[in-house]
């Protein structure tokens, strides 16, 4: 069954999009991160213009994070103060990111930049996850039940000015650090259409030293508002948000997420992370091949401008 996407201006099989949404939802359910960083490259593979894929994916991220945020708020796992400081950086970052996106789009380099950033980001994350899960796997095989060591050290955190007390996170750190983290995530969110949870969550744990209980909820809080900002700005400046595309991805995600969390409960975490890292690396490799391979058509067309 084909459906015409009014903004992407092409018709595509509904089930391809639902399936993609479900796959992203599956990942979200399994790992607690939004599947945006895999869904966007896959949308590009199936022929959606990268600019539309990124902007519509940001729209989908809103739905994803609002449903998780509901649960996290109810459980009291959101550090609103930390969330607000992160969000300050996130808003500035995403606004700057959309401006950068628009500039790159106008000079005809946005597709290239999206592809390169995805290759760098996915291969880094994929390799880190793969080595981590292999190491854990080997360690557990050698002496099962060994406790994990302490994960973070404070070095940079205590030297910066503008210290703030974050009661819920039990932290007394410079506000500049979360603002900076939020800023970077905001830029990523605007250019890549991702929520950025897969970068934000490790940054919150390892860089800010937040307790893991509040990390997911607080990152959801920041991601929700940043994604909304990106959606709004993309709609205003580039007109690239396709709500039909976003809605199909959301619907797929609704189906995929519970399957993912059920799978996650059954399979051991090491195996899950290993599988996920292989998947991420495969997508990165495919994107890299696209960049390296001689294109069948070295030409492409920019936007049509009707004659007056």
């Amino acid at each position: 069954m084909e459906i015409y996407l009014p903004i992407a201006e092409l018709s595509i099989n509904v089930f391809v999009l639902l399936g993609l949404g479900a796959a992203a939802g599956l990942l979200a359910g399994m790992f607690g991160v939004g599947g945006g960083f895999l869904a966007t490259p896959l949308l590009i593979f199936v022929g959606i213009p990268p600019a539309v894929a990124v902007a519509s994916q940001a729209n989908q991220v809103i739905a994803n994070s609002v449903s998780s945020l509901q649960v996290q708020l109810r459980r009291g796992n959101v550090d609103l103060r930390m969330g607000a400081v992160l969000l300050l950086g996130g808003m500035i970052g995403s606004t700057a990111g959309v401006a950068l996106f628009t500039y790159l789009k106008n000079i005809g380099q946005i597709d290239f930049v999206i592809a390169v950033l995805y290759v760098v980001m996915l291969s880094t994350i994929g390799l880190l996850m793969l080595t981590e899960s292999l190491r854990t796997y080997i360690k557990r095989r050698r002496n099962p039940g060994a406790p994990r060591g302490k994960l973070h050290t404070h070095y940079l955190v205590h030297r910066l000015p503008l210290k703030l007390r974050f009661y819920k996170s039990k932290l007394y750190i410079s506000a500049l650090l979360p603002v900076g983290v939020g800023f970077v995530i905001g830029i990523l969110s605007a250019i890549l259409g991702v929520g950025g949870g897969f970068v934000l969550v490790p940054a919150m744990i390892y860089l800010l030293g937040m307790p893991t209980t509040v990390v997911i909820g607080t990152s959801n809080f920041q991601i929700l508002f940043v994604a909304a900002n990106v959606t709004f700005l993309q709609a205003v400046t580039n007109g690239t948000v396709d709500v039909v595309l976003a809605l199909l991805l959301i619907l797929g995600g609704v189906v995929g997420a519970p399957i993912g969390s059920r799978l996650a409960a059954k399979l051991p975490g090491v195996v899950l992370r290993g599988l996920m890292s292989v998947l991420i690396l495969a997508v990165a490799a495919q994107l890299l091949v696209e960049l390296l391979r001689t294109p069948s058509l070295p030409f492409s067309l920019g936007a049509r401008e009707a004659l007056q």
Partner: protein
């Protein structure tokens, strides 16, 4: 001057008959004067004119649909053009999309990676261009009297570049443009087949791909005799989004802020409902 008067008269006559009866026929497009025979004298550079001899049109055409509607279920469409002509003769149909400024970008390998390095804009690029004929086109136009019937190559040789560039480079960009358009199904490489029945009825399927730019397309049918155009009829074919997708696209382009807020609200609602639903299960 006299010729001009006669063109006007013929146009009015045709318009009158058209409004009085059956299928509407637009005023014939100016076509080269048949002259007095093979050696007929046509002034070079003079505007082509319509054959005047008949008040009854020699060529009647219609389309199976008045417009191409891009709905949510649109995945390309085939429109049938059919009609009748006074034999003998051959039929050529030319479909041209609205002209627009298009930017062609060229990728080159830089440090092993392929990225856009050059761009060239052209000012009046037809969104779509297809030709169909009842006989191989070369044979029909062999005598060089095809007049305004242009092959894709001829049509594109007339597009104007925005800014100046080395002619060889321009040709490369122009070829690139054709390749991309062909890849999208907008410049079909093959000449379509016009089927003629009983010597005077004709029909032709005009295929439109799913990635179809909007605008008013021009569908033109020509009646040729001895390699000359004796009659030409033009039909406008509007291509546009309708219904839900039209509303959404219009909304997105006219009021991006409201559209953006709507998109956010939609996602919030869908996410909230979806989440509630999943937790129920």
């Amino acid at each position: 001057m006299r010729r001009l008067m006669m063109i006007l008269a013929a146009s009015f006559a045709l318009a009158a008959t058209a409004s009085a009866q059956g299928p509407r026929i637009d005023a014939p497009t100016p076509a080269p004067l048949p002259g007095t025979g093979l050696g007929g004298s046509t002034v070079p550079g003079a505007p082509p004119s319509v054959p005047i001899e008949s008040e009854t049109p020699e060529l009647i055409v219609d389309l199976s649909r008045a417009r191409v509607s891009i709905t949510s279920a649109f995945h390309g469409e085939s429109i049938l053009m059919f009609g009748m002509f006074d034999p003998p003769g051959e039929i050529v149909v030319v479909v041209a999309g609205p002209p627009a400024r298009e930017t062609v970008m060229r990728k080159e390998r830089v440090l092993g990676l392929w990225l856009n390095t050059g761009r060239q804009a052209f000012l009046d690029v037809p969104a779509y261009y297809a030709i169909a004929a009842s006989q191989p086109l070369q044979r029909l136009l062999a005598r060089g009297a095809g007049g305004e019937i242009l092959s894709l190559e001829d049509r594109l040789s007339t597009i104007r570049p925005d800014g100046s560039r080395d002619p060889a480079e321009l040709a490369k960009f122009r070829n690139g443009l054709v390749e991309v358009k062909r890849d999208e199904g907008l410049y079909p490489a093959a000449i379509g087949q016009v089927t003629v029945q009983a010597g005077r009825l004709f029909r032709v399927d005009l295929p439109f791909p799913s990635r179809l730019p909007e605008g008013v397309y021009d569908v033109r049918a020509y009646l040729l005799r001895d390699g000359r155009i004796v009659a030409a009829v033009s039909r406008p074919l509007p291509v546009g989004k309708v219904g839900f997708s039209a509303q959404l696209a219009g909304w997105a382009s006219h009021d991006g802020a409201l559209y953006g807020l709507g998109a956010i609200f939609m996602a919030l609602l869908a996410g909230w409902l979806g989440g509630a639903l999943v937790r129920r299960l």
